[in-house]
């Protein structure tokens, strides 16, 4: 019985500790495609993200229309033909740092992490696992990652005429500078 009480106390403490959250609205996510014919790059500096350092939970929310391209026409095609951003305006990621114990949020430094979670875009959700870095700095936490995604996995069809201009795999770059959230 004693054990049970301890367990419940721990789990209660665990829930109570959920207060340590870090957040940003100006995170960066970009992606690029390299082929022999064309280099395409898009940047989004309005990424909203929250990190809960007590649980390792991470969520991201991205407005598709906030991706900006070098060429206005590419941006139009991206929204109109590929992402259908009128129908699917947002992309979200819900995940968790699976090796949270290897990060010491009290000690500034860089820590390698692996994040598992669900990436939703274009109305398709896929489980992904990405490697990244958590950097604990004075007054905040930075997160960065580079990983690849395949547009076809998200039912984004690229027709034959432009098949050679767009790479089969896109490289995604994530750079987030979190600031602490005052607990309510």
């Amino acid at each position: 019985m004693k054990r049970i009480v301890i367990l419940f106390t721990i789990s209660f403490l665990f829930l109570a500790a959920n207060g340590q959250k870090f957040m940003t609205k100006n995170g960066y996510i970009g992606f690029s495609s390299h082929t022999a014919i064309d280099d395409i790059k898009a940047d989004n500096n309005q990424v909203a993200a929250v990190l809960d350092i007590s649980t390792g939970d991470m969520v991201f929310q991205v407005l598709i229309k906030s991706f900006h391209f070098e060429k206005a026409l590419m941006e139009e095609h991206f929204n109109e033909n590929y992402m259908e951003s009128d129908k699917f305006p947002k992309s979200t990621f819900r995940g968790k740092i699976i090796n949270l114990s290897s990060v010491d949020f009290n000690k500034p430094g860089k820590y390698d992490v692996t994040v598992d979670g669900d990436l939703n875009m274009h109305d398709v959700t896929n489980k992904i696992s990405v490697k990244g870095t958590i950097e604990v700095v004075q007054g905040g936490v930075n997160a960065s990652s580079k990983f690849n995604i395949v547009p076809e996995d998200y039912k984004i069809n690229i027709p034959g005429v432009v098949r050679d201009n767009i790479a089969k795999t896109l490289e995604v770059t994530v750079t987030i500078k979190y600031a602490p959230v005052e607990s309510k």
Partner: protein, 293 residues
């Protein structure tokens, strides 16, 4: 004990799940409503012959080449019109988000033309709700044919005509857009005194997406002036065509009863009658180059 640890695991799991939802909600609370501007009401800056509400983005150059062939009812000897060809080409450039300019030349009456198009309102939803996009066009055209009678005093101003136009458009759904286009054409010199110097017309144009890259467009201008007493029989221009989009190109394959490709020409000078088969096959090619990023 085993049961309890399962319960415990379940609790932690449930806690972590709801935690992610909580985090998501934090984001929802924090994201402020943004203005969501409607894009691509039309695929190019033209519905078919006439201008659409669409602007060229700043720093982008649109090189346009258009052809109208002869009337299809000319028969097999003229290869259903394809033996004859009338062309117009233009360079059009976006200066700012709300201003674009263009210059062009058409083979019909050896006409030079120039225009400026202004974006006045942009359809949007979200933080600001605007039901329509509105653009305005002013253009000038100068013919350069040799004077019919060089012996009399000829004024350069006789070669000129002006157009003022307002485009009011709404993208009703991702696949359907509609535009109304009140138009005034002023011609400095007209063939006879029966012909009015000012032509008033209202255009209607629409676009329906058939696939992601192909849309069906149609366009009609209703001339308000009485066409009865003009020196030549004039018809309202009606055109129907397909926009085919590939990367930086938009191809328009079309059928129309007007031979001319600028406002001054197809409004008020269209002599083809659809019902008699005075139909021209034609195409527009638009190729966009990014000059400034």
């Amino acid at each position: 004990m085993k049961r309890l640890s399962i319960l415990f695991l379940f609790l932690v799991f449930a806690a972590s799940l709801s935690a992610q939802d909580d985090l998501m909600n934090m984001l929802k609370d924090s994201t402020k409503a943004e203005i969501n501007y409607t894009t691509a009401t039309f695929k190019s800056t033209r519905v078919i012959n006439g201008h659409s509400v669409q602007m060229m983005a700043p720093g982008q150059l649109d090189v346009r080449i258009s052809h109208r062939f002869g009337r299809v009812n000319l028969g097999a000897y003229e290869f259903f019109g394809l033996d004859q060809s009338n062309m117009h080409f233009s360079l059009e450039y976006g200066i700012t988000k709300w201003l674009m300019v263009g210059i062009g030349r058409g083979s019909y009456e050896k006409t030079f033309d120039g225009f400026a198009k202004y974006s006045i309102l942009s359809q949007s939803s979200g933080a600001r709700n605007m039901p329509v996009s509105v653009s305005a066009l002013t253009s000038i055209a100068a013919t350069s044919l040799k004077w019919a009678d060089p012996t009399r005093t000829n004024y350069f101003s006789s070669r000129l005509s002006y157009v003022g136009q307002v485009m009011i458009a709404r993208k009703f759904s991702p696949s359907f857009s509609l535009q109304l286009t009140p138009t005034i054409v002023h011609r400095n010199l007209v063939p006879t005194e029966l012909d009015p110097n000012d032509i008033y017309a209202v255009g209607a144009g629409g676009r329906m997406k058939l696939t992601r890259r192909i849309s069906l467009n149609a366009e009609y201008f209703y001339m308000i002036n009485s066409k009865k007493y003009m020196s030549e029989t004039i018809y309202d221009p009606f055109s129907v065509g397909f926009d085919i989009e590939t990367g930086g190109h938009v191809f328009t394959l079309l059928f129309t009863n007007s031979l001319q490709m600028i406002e001054k020409g197809f409004v008020g000078e269209t002599t083809g009658n659809w019902l008699k088969g005075d139909i021209h096959f034609g195409f527009n090619i638009s190729r966009v180059f990014t000059l400034k990023q």
